[in-house]
Symmetry: C2
Subunit: 125 residues, 2 copies
């Protein structure tokens, strides 16, 4: 069963996109294995304190991307082949690192300084 313990909606990004991102990152990290069961829409919405429709929208998006399999009446399961997992990893990690690097660089931070800051943040978490 996929655990949503470390997840709380925050910031201005739409909640359903945050849910999608959370699941994707969980898959990439290996924390969410292939075939893992997803909590029901109602269960999950209660756990996260958000509306069932918001959860449904996230699930719909995950299903459209082929990461989730849902059948009416039955439970939902994560379906992610190793190939798709690698593609996801590339998509998320590279874009994430690039976006962070771009913003830091834009502020006049040197590469050495950036590495130092990243390393420091790494420890503190």
């Amino acid at each position: 069963m996929v655990s949503f313990e470390g997840f709380r909606p925050e910031g201005s990004e739409p909640i359903y996109l945050q849910i999608v991102g959370f699941v994707k990152r969980g898959i990439v990290s290996g924390e969410i294995p292939d075939g893992d069961e997803l909590p029901s829409r109602r269960m999950l919405s209660a756990l996260l304190g958000v509306n069932p429709n918001t959860v449904q929208k996230a699930c719909r998006m995950l299903e459209d991307e082929g990461i989730l399999v849902s059948h009416a009446g039955a439970k939902s399961y994560v379906a992610c082949t190793p190939a798709k997992r690698e593609a996801l990893r590339g998509e998320l990690v590279v874009s994430g690192a690039a976006a962070a690097a771009l913003k830091l660089k834009e502020m006049g931070v040197t590469l050495e300084e950036a590495i130092k800051l990243i390393s420091k943040a790494w420890e503190e978490d």
Copy 2:
């Protein structure tokens, strides 16, 4: 005069917040010096292709934070003491690095891998 050449609204983040962030990063990088003149609301909205009210909302927020000085009828100028600039730098750089580190770490990326990715993204931009 503050240049908005490298700026285009994108993503789900509200445009007025993106404008605020752009100006803040410009100040931190030194690209926008203290006392620099800001394009008028109408001029800026035409340049960015957004509504004057959206620009006004961003300017209002910057003024509330003491980064911008506006007088009715007169032009607007950036007003940022060295101390405030350092505070901004800390706020943006540290939080940016921390957010990047958190996301990468969450995906099971090692620190060495993260540094490698950041370095690569640094060159490519």
